[in-house]
Amino acid sequence: MNAMLENGVVATVAGVLREYLMLLFGNQFLTDLIMKFIGIGAVIGVILSAAIVFTYAERKVCAFIQVRLGPNRVGGRFGLLQPFADMLKLMSKEDIIPAGCDRVVWALSPMLLFVPSALAYAFFPFDKGAVFADVNVGVFLLIAISSQAVLPFLMGGYASNSKYAMIGGMRTVAQMLSYEAPMVFSLLGIVMLTGSLKMSDIVAVQADNVWFVLLQPVAFVIFVITATAETNRTPFDLVEGESEIVAGAFAEYSGMRWALFFLAEYANLLAVSILTTTFFLGGWSGPVLPGVVWFWLKALFMVFFFMWLRWTLPRTRIDQMLSLSWKVLLPLALANVMCTGIGVYIYRWL
């Protein structure tokens, strides 16, 4: 049992499974292939169940903050089946294609949006040794992939042949690009402290020493702010801006196409929560409980925190948002990198 905790629950289970498969097939390549597929299935399962759980959670959190009860009809007193009812509704909705839209680009946009947000999950260390692809340029690759999410928004906005969608698409580009920069610089400090771009190393360093939220508080704040902007949630939901530009880039989508946007949104929400956990809150490290439990506790707390922010704060304006990014967050992040560098230098010199 202790050995299991030592090596991580997920890794142990995977090891046992691999041994059984090896016994069954006796072929290294086939076993690896099957293990990869199981991993992919697990990650997709995490994303889908996250979307289901989070739609319910968001409704409940929103309702509780707004002194309401939230879903309380479908599936008992607590409305547990509400997300499934939502799903059914979305699936049974008519697929409306606006007149004069660019059909191919329009249809591609929601699918392309889902790809980078799902791909990012490959690099998340869910538990000790439970990283799907623990590449040595993990952080770099992660940022590179997640910034691809800009394009589908622009595609959707452009192809919808709708004025609101067009404005939404334009806003997305401005917002996501300008928040990419401070986000990267806020992570740079951590990379400097760890000395590695590997995700598992970052967590391992925190598990051995101290959580980076204590060493890099400024970077943490910058990262949380930029993460809210990257996921297009209030106070930075200008891309959707329901009361201004209706629903922005996906104003014209309905039914399952819209559901894909929705899925990507919640996948992104979980992704940034996991990133915050991994980079600043020590990932799977924690006493007594298995690592995977700690990991999910922290990640879900971050999800709740983002929801809490969303249902409290009003929306900023586009010029205020951009000037916050370029005039405040970016210099702050750069200064943080500098200070970290000096700090690391002094530490080594001592």
């Binding site: 009361s243 586009i318 010029d319």
Partner: protein, 365 residues
């Protein structure tokens, strides 16, 4: 040769934040607004014409449907005009009750304003909180007149019926809660830096501009002009109560919000004084059932929640008015929309609609 063009965006009539069925034609240069033209009439029901075909007493429920968020104030304005035309003396107790109702309704309406402004800014939680507190006022109205929206309580010659015995106690309980919930709005919204940055310095109007657009109500008071009919005309029993007219300094959206926010407290003060000084006596004046005012005309105005609410009634001596014209404050305030939007961003235009606080039932009449 590449050429740039302006972008025409039709906001509304179906849009989440145009407060009903307002349509605003925005001419945009990127995110910046070059021109905003309000287009209305989607809720036009011809109330002026309808009133011509009803007797004076039957007309009162139609005024409920003008500004349906503060019906009591509309009833009040119309009944005052008819009383002035027919020379009816309203009993003192009825006047006190009318003032109580009008001021409570002003609080309720300003709560809707705060809530919808918060919602338009993306903070929908603020809206739920204000609506939760507004329910208490609606409960009071329900107790008094049996309706929660179209009250039809203030009648020609007085009020429909006397206050129920438990009203005073419940009303005081509500008044005690006013500081509590205003503090909550202040902490949730007013103290919020994002909220402040969205409102301060946006949609600025100078006092000259506001006067030129003939604005009234909180919108003109936000520019620093203390034009409040309750003080200027001193109608009904308002001169007997001590209250202040909050004014702004800069005429921006922040001041429009502040003025209304402080008016809640002032209205609560008036209600408390009126409750304390409520005299005994009848609540309905004596006048013939089939009211036939003498030939003549009258223009009577009151301070509605959105500004100066005037009723111009021409009587030809029969039981029905010959002509009724309603000076609707939201309608006239809408003229300032272009000046309030020009040069600002799309996000600000939504706040500008909210800050004028138009009610389409009143704009379109």
């Amino acid at each position: 040769m590449p050429q740039t063009e302006t972008y025409i965006l039709n906001m509304g009539p179906q849009h989440p934040s145009t407060h009903g069925v307002l349509r605003v034609n925005l001419e945009l240069d990127g995110e910046r607004i070059l021109r905003a033209t309000p287009m209305m009439g989607y809720l036009h029901r011809g109330i002026e014409k309808l009133l011509e075909a009803r007797t004076y007493v039957q007309g009162v429920p139609y005024t409920d449907r003008l500004d349906y968020v503060s019906s009591m104030n509309n009833n009040f304005g119309y009944c005052r005009a008819v009383e002035e035309l027919a020379g009816i003396e309203v009993p003192e107790r009825a006047e006190y009750i009318r003032v109580i109702m009008a001021e409570l309704n002003r609080i309720a309406s300003h709560q809707v304003f705060i809530g919808s402004l918060a919602n338009d800014l993306g903070a929908s939680t603020g809206m739920l909180y204000t609506f939760r507190d507004r329910e208490e006022i609606l409960d009071l109205f329900d107790l008094v007149c049996g309706a929660r929206m179209t009250f039809h309580y203030i009648r020609v010659g007085g009020v429909a019926r006397d206050l129920p015995p438990e009203f005073a106690e419940k009303c005081r309980k509500f008044l005690d809660r006013v500081p509590e919930f205003t503090a909550e709005y202040a902490n949730l919204l007013m103290g919020n830096e994002i909220f402040q940055r969205r409102l301060k310095g946006v949609s600025r109007l100078t006092p000259e501009q506001a006067l030129a657009h003939n604005m009234t109500g909180p919108n003109i008071r936000a520019t620093g002009i203390p034009f409040d009919i309750r003080k200027v005309d001193g109608y009904s029993v308002y001169p007997r109560f001590g209250f202040e007219v909050p004014v702004g300094e800069n005429g921006d959206n922040w001041d429009r919000f502040q003025v209304r926010f402080r008016e809640i407290t002032e209205s609560a003060r008036i209600v408390r004084q009126a409750l304390d000084g409520l005299p005994e006596g009848p609540v309905m004046a004596k006048f013939p059932k089939m009211l036939k005012p003498p030939q003549g005309e009258v223009f009577s105005r009151t301070e509605g929640t959105r500004g100066e609410l005037g009723f111009y009634i021409v009587s030809d001596g029969t039981a029905k008015p010959y002509r009724v014209h309603i000076r609707r404050p939201s309608f006239i305030n809408m003229q300032a929309l272009d000046d309030m939007c020009r040069g600002y961003l799309i996000g600000d235009s939504v706040v500008a609609f909210s800050a004028i606080d138009p009610l389409m039932g009143e704009v379109d009449c």
